[in-house]
Amino acid sequence: MITTNKKAPSKDTQRVKPLDDCPDWTFELLEQYQTEIARVAEHYRLDTYTNQIEVITAEQMMDAYAGVGMPIGYNHWTYGKKFIQTEQTYKRGQMGLAYEIVINSSPCISYLMEENTMPMQALVMAHACYGHNSFFKGNYLFKSWTDASSIIDYLLFAKSYIAECENKYGIDDVEATLDACHALMSHGVDRYKRPQKISLDEELKRQKEREEYLQSQVNMLWRTIPSANKNKEKSEDKYKLPSEPQENILYFIEKNAPLLKPWQREIVRIVRKISQYFYPQKQTQVMNEGWACFWHYTILNHLYDEGLVTDKFMLEFLHSHTNVVAQLEYNSKYYSGINPYALGFNMFIDIRRICEHPTEEDKEFFPEIAGSNWLDTLHFAMENFKDESFISQYLSPKLIRDFKLFHINDDEKNNYVEISAIHNEQGYKKIRHKLADQYNLSNLEVNIQIVDANIDGDRSLTLRYIPHKGIKLGDSKDEVLKHLHYLWQFDVKIVQENKEGEDDIIAQCPDKI
């Protein structure tokens, strides 16, 4: 017979009437599930923004897709392209739509798809409305870089401002400006300096002032008439622009481009702000998804233990859950890298295991968390890390073994690739280190900075590319440079230091041959 401790809770639960598990959802049923999920979430101290749960159709989901996570987007052809692509692949059945989309805003907006069954809706609510939502509210990156309460207002401002510009200055000019900004979007982020909080009121108030002020500043800067007998030594102790290399290219353009019109500066600023808003999401994909998966799994299992959901419900839930957190192996036909859902989910589960049932190995690797309160530890991990640091802090040897991770080193100079670490005693630390590096944005994104704007001379702009591990700058550089040239309107070039320590020009616009 079954052991007694299994029987005991079932006696308790006999008093609890399970929630209806029919596949069709209704608003009343959603409400009931939501209430139960919220109760359990509170039990686990998940602190969230107020939820705004919107039920939408598949077509509307495709609209939401096209908006790349912005509930209110300005009009631009690139979103049209994304929409057409989504529509095509969806209609041909090459792609399913996501079950949900969640937006980092306050109140936190989540979209549920009409087609989902009731167990799916419950999964999605636990995942998005309590998992992602609490991550948005608790993680240090989101806390310091984004302001959830003002983003909707700001997007609304951006949309209407750009629409107004289109009316005043024509769609073509606005589109060209946006194209140029989009090309440099990932270089419109302050990586180290915290941004000011954006709020609609201030934004509107200051926008006009700023327009005038900026223009006057720029004109002052460029009014410097080059002195007739200037030589190189002299120009060096003059005001150098920028005083230090500037990695936020869009910021530099907004403040210093000589011929930009005020409304173009504002558009550069809008794109920059939106890029900044998404920056934390890029850095916390594994953690964010892992956290959300961990909580939908934990919350729904908790409800099951209480007898609130039925076996039928759990079977469907587990089926979807398992699909989401599956990790394919490297030699699978469908392998496309490490699945962030799988890695994140298993890491959080593993942290809980280390806290509750530490082995000798865990005690050696994680002396400070082995045997501690798992909920405290989990919250601490969620709040204070990003993907890179999270992995290098918490990836355990057990998980490396479970995933059978191995590391490949590929050096251009060799005609072979080398397996430099596998899941064994000698390899654990190296694999953890290399995997963490794989999520380090500064290794993934191109390191390119503005080093000089020749304000005394031909006003040419110089950027420097600093290669990471000898990787060349991609072929699209010439195209991107055209966009930069559109904004700067004088010569632009990219230099790279060669082996002799001299600067080679690797791209320039206009092309001088």
Binding site: I53, E87, M185, K472, S476
Partner: protein, 425 residues
């Protein structure tokens, strides 16, 4: 803690504007794709949209990204065979890109084409952008054309079958109310007085009798107001409205003599397709009449028109004559918008060409909206072309164009129907 909002009834086409922006931006590529696709359609196949193919590289949005070379480190899951220090040779032709482990293409610059569908509407708009039917505005209202009976309110006179019962009874009620209002008021007053008297403890026999008598008189007066009167009757009114006809007939005339080979016919066919599509934007119903001719003209169906081979000489006037006969017989030019399109390789019996000219000028051109002649040949023009040139100078609704190759068809078509502000005025 949570608010549910049902957004399913909100508009679902949030992306329409962006989609239009996309079409606008890639108009040139899309137009090219559209004009390529026109060569693959049947004449009356217009009920579908079109698949548009754009090379993916034209669509890419460039960003700085890492290129090739250098040292790459990558962690993969699922080790089933490797131990530390294993070396795997790179495939010989690969230039240092990745380890062949599926991380080769994060730059996303594949050469696949980007294919998507546009609707029929969008397709036709693009195909015939900036084109217009010549002489249309001028003629549309003076050659009018068809009458439509429409409801035009109600009137007091008409035939019994048109009586509108509801309106008539409404009138009847109104009239009865109006004619009895004062009497009813009085009647009410009398009834009140009567009941007052009855309540009274004392007897008022004579007064009661007096009142009852007046009440009776009033009631009979009210009853005499007729239930329905000719005055009440309302008839549904109909009016005839002139509507521009939406019927058009398109005559396809083609030379099928021995000198016309299948390739030439194919070109002619494409021209007819374009014309048909173009007309279908203005007219709801289009009849297509196929007339082929060598020395004799004959009305045939589409398949025979394009695919059967005949030999013999060429007398183009026979086709024009047949066209004129068919118009007189079946297509009254007051009711039909008539368009003609003639295709030929230019061969014609020399003596026949002046006859063609006079047939056109005297009989056909006054009746029809537009007649276009295309000559598909690599050789020099002959008599027919020269005669037709003279016609073109004097008649604005006649045009000739010369086609050498398949590529010329669409441009020539555009030339024929180019928006002309002078004409439109």
């Amino acid at each position: 803690m949570a608010n549910f909002i049902d957004r399913r009834l909100n508009s679902k086409n949030k992306s329409t504007v962006n989609r239009q922006r996309f079409l606008r931006r890639y108009k040139n590529q899309i137009k090219k794709s559209v004009s390529d696709a026109i060569n693959q359609r049947g004449v009356t196949d217009i009920d579908s949209g079109e698949n548009i193919v754009i090379p993916k590289k034209d669509l890419s949005e460039p960003v700085f990204h890492q290129g090739s070379g250098g040292i790459r480190d990558k962690v993969h899951p699922g080790n089933d065979q490797f131990i530390t220090g294993d070396r795997i040779p790179k495939p010989p032709n690969q230039q240092g890109q990745g380890g062949g482990q599926g991380d080769a293409s994060n730059s996303g610059e594949g050469d696949d084409d980007f294919t998507f569908s546009i609707s029929k509407e969008e397709y036709l708009n693009l195909l015939f952008e900036d084109l217009e039917l010549p002489n249309l505005e001028k003629n549309q209202l003076d050659k009018l054309i068809e009458y439509k009976t429409v409801r035009a309110g109600f009137c007091a006179e008409g035939v019994p079958s048109n009586i509108d019962i509801v309106k008539s009874l409404q009138g009847s009620i109104a009239r009865r109310i109006a004619m009895t209002a004062t009497k009813r008021k009085k009647l009410k007053k009398y009834h009140q007085a009567l009941s007052d008297l009855k309540q009274d403890k004392h007897d008022h026999i004579s007064e009661e009798r007096e009142l009852k008598k007046s009440i009776q008189i009033l009631e009979s007066k009210i009853a005499k107001v007729p239930f329905i009167d000719t005055f009440d009757l309302r008839f549904r009114n109909f009016a005839k409205q002139a509507v521009p006809t939406s019927k058009a007939v398109m005559f396809c005339l083609m030379d099928v003599s021995g000198s016309m080979d299948q390739a030439t016919k194919e070109m002619a066919k494409r021209f007819y397709i374009l014309l048909y599509l173009f007309l279908s934007r203005t007219y709801k119903n289009i009849d297509v009449i196929y007339i082929r001719h060598h020395t004799q003209a004959k009305e045939v169906d589409e398949h025979e028109f394009f695919y059967s081979q005949e030999t013999g000489g060429t007398i183009a006037s026979s086709a024009l004559e047949l066209m004129n006969d068919i118009i007189t017989e079946r297509y009254n030019d007051n009711q039909w918008n008539i368009y003609g399109a003639q295709a030929s390789d230019g061969d014609n019996w020399a003596d026949d060409s002046p006859l063609c000219k006079s047939l056109l000028i005297d009989k056909l051109l006054p009746k029809i909206r537009y007649f276009s002649y295309i000559e598909i040949t690599q050789r020099a023009h002959q008599t027919l072309w020269q005669q037709y040139q003279q016609v073109m100078e004097t008649h604005p609704n006649f045009a000739i164009q010369h086609i050498k190759d398949v590529e010329d068809i669409y441009p020539v078509f555009r030339k024929l129907f180019k928006k002309n502000t002078k004409n439109a005025a």
